[in-house]
C-alpha cells in the first residue's frame, strides 16, 4: 500500500536541544495514524515539520510524495490541518471563516453544510470570540476540510470538548476515513487513539518508543485478559493455598490470567470447596492507556523498553 507520509531519520534541533531524535515511520493511505506521547515528547514539532511549518534539521521526509518545506504551497493545497489550540480572528463568524478559506483555496464550498457536518450550524453567525472552547475546535476541524483534503492533520482535536461532543468528532473522523482520507491524529487521550487509530506510535523524548495497531501494542505490552476476584480475608487465605496463585494477590484482589486455565479451575474449585460466599468476579484486559503508562514509565526510569 502506498505511504502518504514517509519519514526516515527525522531530527529537529533547537540549538543544543534535540526535540525530535531520529524518528522513522510511514503512514499508509486511507488509515488513521496516531501519535501518542506526553507533553514535550516532540509530537507537535514532528507534525509541524510534516505540515511544512518547520524545517527538519536532518532526515528525509515525503508527504504525498512532496517535500513539505520546499513544496509547502502544493502540500497545503492537498492537506487539511487543524493546529493544536486552534485560534481564529476574534470578530469573524464561522460562516465567514469557511467562505474565506473557500476563496483562498479557490474552491466552491457549501459553508452551511460543512458547519452542519461539524455540528456548528447553530453558531454559524456568532463571532469567534463568542464561541466556547469546543465550538472553536469544531471550526478548526471545519476549516481543515474546506479544501477536500486527501490527508488531514488533527492536533489534539478533542481537547476541551465535552464527552458528547468528543464522540461526535470521533464519528466525523470515522466518516472521513470511510471517504478514503488519511488522518494523522495527535492526541493525549489514549481512549481516542484506541477507538480511532489503525496504527499508533508512542513517542517520548523525541523518539518513537513503539509502533503498531492498538491491539498489537496491547497484546505485546499488556498483561492480557484476566479474571479478577474480589476476595474477603477468609477467602484470600483459601486462595493463597492454590498453587501458582499466591503471586497474583493484590490487596483483596486476586488476578488470574485467562491463559492459565488450570490455575483458574483450581481457584474456582477451591472457592466452591470452602463453602464461603462467592466473591465478585470480573474480567479485565489492559487498555492502551495502561500500555502507555507502562512504557513511558519505563522510559522515565531510564530503562529501555522491552522489545
Amino acid at each position: 500500500m502506498d505511504a502518504v507520509i514517509s519519514v526516515d531519520g527525522l531530527v529537529k534541533e533547537y540549538g543544543k536541544l534535540r526535540a525530535v531524535d531520529g524518528i522513522s515511520f510511514s503512514v499508509p493511505t486511507g488509515k488513521v495514524y496516531s501519535f501518542l506521547g506526553p507533553n514535550g515528547a516532540g509530537k507537535t514539532t514532528t507534525v509541524e515539520i510534516l505540515e511544512g511549518l518547520r524545517r527538519a534539521t536532518h532526515g528525509t521526509l515525503r508527504v504525498l510524495g512532496l517535500d513539505p518545506w520546499h513544496d509547502a504551497g502544493e502540500v497545503h493545497r492537498r492537506v487539511g490541518v487543524m493546529p493544536q489550540g486552534f485560534r481564529f480572528f476574534d470578530k469573524v463568524t464561522p460562516l465567514e471563516a469557511v467562505q474565506y478559506y473557500g476563496r483562498l483555496f479557490d474552491v466552491q464550498v457549501d459553508a452551511p453544510a460543512l458547519l452542519r457536518r461539524v455540528l456548528l450550524e447553530e453558531k454559524a453567525n456568532d463571532t469567534f470570540d463568542k464561541l466556547s472552547g469546543g465550538q472553536k475546535q469544531k471550526l478548526g476541524i471545519a476549516l481543515a476540510l474546506v479544501n477536500d483534503p486527501e490527508l488531514v492533520f488533527l492536533d489534539e482535536p478533542t481537547t476541551g470538548l465535552d464527552p458528547q461532543a468528543r464522540r461526535a468528532v470521533w464519528e466525523l473522523l470515522r466518516e472521513l476515513r470511510k471517504e478514503g482520507r488519511t488522518i494523522f491524529l495527535t492526541t493525549h487521550y489514549l481512549e481516542e487513539a484506541e477507538n480511532l487509530a489503525d496504527q499508533v506510535a508512542i513517542i517520548h523524548h523525541g523518539k518513537i518508543v513503539t509502533e503498531g495497531s492498538p491491539a498489537e501494542l496491547i497484546a505485546k505490552y499488556g498483561r492480557g485478559p484476566r479474571i479478577v476476584l474480589e476476595a474477603t480475608p477468609e477467602l484470600l487465605k483459601v486462595l493463597q493455598r492454590v498453587p501458582g496463585l499466591s503471586s497474583e494477590v493484590k490487596g483483596n484482589q486476586v488476578e488470574v490470567p485467562l491463559h492459565q486455565k488450570q490455575v483458574l479451575i483450581d481457584a474456582l474449585q477451591a472457592i466452591a470447596a470452602s463453602g464461603l460466599v462467592w466473591p465478585d468476579i470480573s474480567t479485565q484486559r489492559d487498555t492502551l492507556e495502561e500500555v502507555f503508562i507502562t512504557l513511558v514509565g519505563e522510559m522515565e526510569e531510564g530503562g529501555e523498553v522491552r522489545a
Binding site: 502506498d2 502518504v4 493511505t29 486511507g30 505540515e51 511544512g52 511549518l53 518547520r54 524545517r55 504525498l64 510524495g65 512532496l66 509547502a72 504551497g73 502544493e74 497545503h76 493545497r77 492537498r78 490541518v81 493546529p83 489550540g85 486552534f86 485560534r87 481564529f88 480572528f89 476574534d90 470578530k91 469573524v92 465567514e96 474565506y100 478559506y101 473557500g102 476563496r103 483562498l104 483555496f105 479557490d106 474552491v107 466552491q108 464550498v109 457549501d110 459553508a111 453544510a113 460543512l114 457536518r117 463571532t127 476549516l143 476540510l145 474546506v146 479544501n147 477536500d148 486527501e150 466518516e175 470511510k178 471517504e179 478514503g180 482520507r181
Partner: protein, 406 residues
C-alpha cells in the same frame, strides 16, 4: 499521488461540500503560486475590514477620535489667526524712511510674525541667522522705501528686491513670512508683488491662515500615523502569539497577498479619516484648506510607511507586550514632535531640528504645503523624503517578516 478512492464516487460516503479533482487543482495552483492573486487579496481585505468594523474601540480611535480632536482644537483656537507668531529677523539698511517704517508696521500688524531687529552693523544677515539658529529673515535694502513710494505714486523705476532668508525644509514658517510681507505690501496701492525676490521660492498666501488650517494637516498626519502603526504592531505581534500566521500559512494565501490586503485596508481608512477631517474642519470652522490631487500620494505613501514600521516593530519584538511598548515609544514622541497638534514652526528654535528626524514631520509638512500653501515644489521634496523612508521601511519589514519558522 492520488486518492485511493474518490470520495465523491463513493455513494456511502457523505461527500464534502466541495470536491473538484485534486490533481488538476493542485497543478493549476502550483503554476499560479508565485503571483499575487487579486481574489486572495480581496478575500482577506473583505474579512479584515468586516472584523475591524465590528471592533468599536478600533473604529473610535481610527475615525472618531481625530474628529473629536479637530472639534476640540477648532473650539480652542476658533478665530485666532496664525498658530502663533513666527520670529522674523529684519535688517534694515534703509534708515528711517517713512515708507519703510510703515512697511514695518504693516508687517507687524498681520500678527503672523514677531519682528526682531538686526542692526546693520551686525554683518550679513545670513551669517547672523545661522549663528542664532534662526531661519527667517529679510534684508531691506537701501532705497527700498523711496522706490515703493515712487512706484505707488505713479513714478517709475526698477523694483528693489527684498532679500529673503528661509529654511527650505520648513515651508510653514517660510510661507507665513511670505504671506505677512505680501499682506503688508497690499497696503501700498499699486506696489507690484515683484518686489519680492527670494532665493528659494515658496507659495503665496492670499489669505491669513487660521490655526484650524494648520490643525487639519496635523490631524490627518495623526490619522496616517496612528491606525496603520498601532493596527500593524498589534496584528503582527498578536497573530504571532495566537499562531494565526501559522494557520494562514497553511492556506494558499501568501505573505505578499496578506500584506497587500493590510495596506489596502489602511489606505481605505486613511482616505476616510482625511475626508472626514477636511469636511469637519471646513463645515464646522470654515477652515481654508485646498483639497488638491497632490494629497493623494501623501495619503498612499504615508500609511505604507507606518504599516511597514508597525510590522517591523511587531515582528522583531519577541512578545506582544514588548511590541506594544516599543510601538508607544516610537509613536507618541513622533506624534507630538512632528506637528500633529502644534505646528513645528511655532515650536522653540532648539526643538525644531528634533521634529525633522521623524518621518511624520515630512508627511504633515507635505500635506500642509499642498492644502495650506499650494506649494507644489515644496510638497514634492517632502513626498520624495517620505517615499524613500517608506521604501526602506517596507523592504526591511518584508525581509524580516516570516510566515514560517525555520
Amino acid at each position: 499521488m492520488t486518492l485511493p478512492s474518490d470520495p465523491s464516487s463513493d455513494p456511502s460516503a457523505p461527500s464534502l461540500p466541495s470536491s473538484p479533482a485534486h490533481g488538476s487543482r493542485a497543478k493549476g495552483a502550483a503554476r499560479r503560486r508565485s503571483f499575487l492573486r487579486p481574489s486572495h487579496v480581496w478575500a482577506d481585505f473583505v474579512l479584515y475590514t468586516r472584523a475591524y468594523m465590528r471592533n468599536p474601540e478600533a473604529l473610535f480611535f481610527s475615525l472618531l477620535f481625530p474628529v473629536i480632536l479637530v472639534l476640540l482644537f477648532g473650539a480652542i483656537f476658533s478665530g485666532s489667526s496664525a498658530p502663533s507668531a513666527v520670529p522674523l529677523y529684519i535688517q534694515n539698511l534703509d534708515g528711517q524712511n517713512a515708507t519703510t517704517l510703515a512697511f514695518y508696521h504693516y508687517v507687524e500688524e498681520t500678527g503672523l510674525v514677531t519682528i526682531h531687529n538686526v542692526s546693520a552693523s551686525a554683518g550679513p544677515l545670513g551669517t547672523y541667522l545661522s549663528q542664532h539658529s534662526e531661519s527667517n529673515g529679510i534684508v531691506i535694502p537701501a532705497g527700498f522705501g523711496e522706490q515703493v513710494w515712487n512706484l505707488t505714486h505713479g513714478g517709475r523705476g526698477v523694483p528693489v528686491a527684498l532679500q529673503f532668508y528661509d529654511n527650505p525644509f520648513d515651508s510653514t514658517s517660510a510661507a507665513i513670512v511670505s504671506g505677512a510681507v505680501q499682506l503688508a505690501l497690499q497696503n501700498f496701492k499699486g506696489a507690484p508683488v515683484a518686489y519680492l525676490a527670494k532665493a528659494v521660492p515658496v507659495g503665496s498666501l492670499s489669505f491669513t491662515p487660521k490655526t484650524i488650517d494648520f490643525e487639519i494637516p496635523g490631524l490627518i498626519g495623526f490619522a496616517i500615523l496612528m491606525t496603520p502603526m498601532f493596527s500593524m504592531v498589534n496584528v503582527t505581534s498578536e497573530y504571532k502569539k495566537e499562531k494565526l500566521f501559522k494557520a494562514l500559512s497553511l492556506t494558499p494565501l501568501t505573505k505578499g497577498e496578506w500584506l497587500l490586503s493590510k495596506i489596502l485596508f489602511n489606505w481605505l481608512l486613511t482616505f476616510l479619516a482625511a475626508a472626514i477631517l477636511f469636511a469637519t474642519g471646513i463645515l464646522a470652522y470654515g477652515a481654508h484648506v485646498i483639497v488638491g490631487p497632490l494629497l493623494i500620494p501623501f495619503l498612499l505613501v504615508g500609511p505604507l510607511l507606518f504599516v511597514s514600521l508597525g510590522m517591523l516593530i511587531g515582528t522583531v519584538s519577541k512578545r506582544a507586550e514588548t511590541a506594544g511598548i516599543i510601538g508607544n515609544l516610537v509613536t507618541f514622541p513622533m506624534m507630538f514632535l512632528s506637528g500633529s497638534f502644534i505646528p513645528v514652526s511655532v515650536m522653540p528654535g532648539w526643538l525644531q531640528p528634533y521634529a525633522k528626524v521623524w518621518p511624520l514631520y515630512y508627511v504633515i509638512d507635505g500635506i500642509e504645503s499642498v492644502s495650506v500653501f499650494s506649494d507644489v515644489a515644496h510638497a514634492l521634496i517632502d513626498l520624495g523624503i517620505v517615499s524613500v523612508m517608506a521604501a526602506v521601511a517596507f523592504v526591511a519589514a518584508v525581509l524580516v517578516f516570516r510566515w514560517r519558522e525555520e
